[in-house]
Amino acid sequence: MSKVLVVNDLHVSFDTYAGEVQAVRGVNFELEEGEVLAIVGESGCGKSVTAQTIMKLNPMPPARIVKGDITLGEHDIVNATEKEMMKIRGKEVSMIFQDPMTCLNPTMQVGKQLTEAIRHHRKLSKEDANKEAIHLLETVKIPNPAQRAKQYPHEFSGGMRQRVMIAMALSCAPKLLIADEPTTALDVTIQAQIMDLLQEIKEKTNTAIILITHDLGVVASMADRVAVMYAGKIVETGTAEDIFYRPSHPYTEALLRSLPKTELDRSVRLVSIAGTPPDLLLPPKGCGFASRCTSCMKICQTELPPDFTVEGKHQSACWLLHEDCPSKQCEVNSDGK
């Protein structure tokens, strides 16, 4: 299986009037065909910026790719010109966003928006494009597609609009679909419908999906592999089972522990992570999580931990995994004491 996407040592910064904000500080990951990679993290961790940089959607001032490579299939994204990117977007990679209302043109019929997307990349006649649009609406399970195609976005509900966006994203059969918090704004029952739909589509078309979310439940139900991001870096990567059952980074562990489990009794306190994420205008010298980490050591405060291999492809960036780290320390500290 060939690699759909390779991201290597990506650094992205924003030049603001207050200074340089280092939003992404060295991110590495790969994606195979048909794989679902979930990038999990809280707000400000850099996951959305990473995704938008893959499609070069960030306006380049104030955003800036400081260094790194992004290889999508055979395309070199970092050095691609805007003209080249326009050919790539929609065809090789497309994106669905959190709020479908702001991504659909409210003054244009839905069907027309779809055909516009289709005809931009594929040379089809108007009728063929129309037929294709209706077929796409069927694929995303919108009832009465022929009728609905003539309607405007405000006549659709939130869940339906999300489906339309998915249809638009898939119109040119991209190899990679980036879903940036696609269900965060939706009700739970609609979220379940959309997740089911994405799963079905993935199985049918073998599209690779990058799923960006902060909801670990969504991750558990959809992801093959997971990358946990914090303060602009990926702190742990592995399969979904690695991350949920064998977390090896204090942040991942803390995150999992802070989720209320349904079996939990109210007399047990929820474990929370004290403090707040660091200000990326003045990023800390060492590990970004150091000030909030119960296992923090001297070295954590001064040096950025590299990626250590836990097992196979399961990696974690934590000094606790260094061979010189006294193991008693590691045990004591994974208790959270």
């Binding site: 924003f14 207050a18 004290a274 403090g275 119960t294 923090c296 050591m297 001297k298 260094h322 010189d324």
Partner: protein, 312 residues
């Protein structure tokens, strides 16, 4: 992997409370806005120009050796920089057809034009805030009626009101101010009303209501301060419009009476002899244009600086 000194693995533990502290120094909304404005070079230049014009308007008529109406028949329509042989003073902008020093007239004209513009806008502001404030806060039927009234006023061309007022009142600066205020307040009223209607729904206003605050307190402490930034921008942008209105009225002869000079009357005088002595039109026209442009650009800069959404 490199071997690392064991001491580096000494356990430190979390010090999250440090994390709760705030790294950046405290900065109020206005200070932050001023900081952003100062980074906008265009706006700062315009502010400088406005201050300069203001200073000149105040100082020049005082220190000038000539008065506004002093006539020198010996050298009428003199060129710029003409040196008067009799007393050795320079006519920096030359003289007009009656031998009056244009430089002095321009800057005392500035006083009049600016005074009218600022006063008119200020009166608009007061009426607008009260009217718009009531309509916006009360909402419902009262708001409906008040807005319809505004629409009626807007339907009447202001020139007709000005002419009517001119017929009734003596021509002069007060009349122009009244004429402008009579129709101009609607813009500010609409703006304030719109702001209040949207601010009313903000959670912090609801919180104050739930806390038991009376309407007076809500308007004074919560609604008006948050409307100020929009109002300030509007005022800054309304001034050039007032300047132009005054100039226009004076230009068509409905403005300040002789011998007072405003930029509009100066332009009016200048247009008659434009073919022969173009500077007499161009100088007041340039003054009007530069002042308007400066206020407009400053207003734009203020709008960007005061808009909290642009805060990073």
């Amino acid at each position: 992997m490199d071997k690392l000194d064991k001491s580096r693995f000494e356990w430190v533990g979390a010090n999250a409370l440090e994390g709760e502290g705030i790294a950046r120094p405290s900065i109020s909304y206005w200070k932050d806005a001023m900081k952003r404005l100062s980074k906008n070079k265009t706006a700062i230049v315009c502010l400088g120009v406005i201050i300069l014009i203001g200073l000149m308007a105040i100082v020049v008529p005082i220190i000038s050796p000539y008065t506004v109406s002093e006539q020198h028949y010996a050298h009428t329509n003199a060129v710029m920089g003409f040196k008067d042989p009799t007393d050795g003073h320079l006519h920096l902008f030359g003289t007009d057809k009656l031998g009056r020093d244009i430089f002095t007239r321009v800057w005392s004209g500035a006083r009049i034009s600016l005074f009218i513009a600022i006063t008119a806008v200020f009166v608009n502001f007061i009426i607008g805030i009260v009217y718009g404030g009531i309509a916006g806060y009360m909402g419902g039927m009262l708001d409906n009626v008040m807005m319809r009234f505004i629409e009626i006023i807007n339907g009447i061309p202001y020139l007709i009101i000005v002419i009517l007022l001119m017929m009734v009142l003596k021509p002069g600066t007060t009349t122009i101010i009244i004429a402008y205020a009579a129709v101009g307040w609607t813009g500010m009223a609409r703006l304030v009303r719109g702001q209040l209607m949207s601010l009313k729904e903000q959670d912090y206003v609801v919180a104050a209501k739930v806390m038991g605050a009376k309407p007076a307190r809500i308007i004074a402490k919560h609604l008006l301060p948050n409307t100020l930034s929009v109002v300030i921008v509007n005022i800054t942008l309304a001034i050039p419009s007032a300047i132009f209105t005054e100039a226009f009225l004076s230009f068509i002869g409905l403005g300040v009476p002789v011998p007072l000079a405003s930029w509009g009357t100066l332009a009016n005088d200048g247009v008659k002899i434009f073919q022969m002595y173009p500077t007499q039109l161009m100088i007041p026209a340039l003054c009007i244009s530069i002042t308007m442009l400066s206020f407009n650009l400053l207003g734009d800069g203020l709008r960007d600086a005061l808009d909290p959404r642009l805060r990073r």
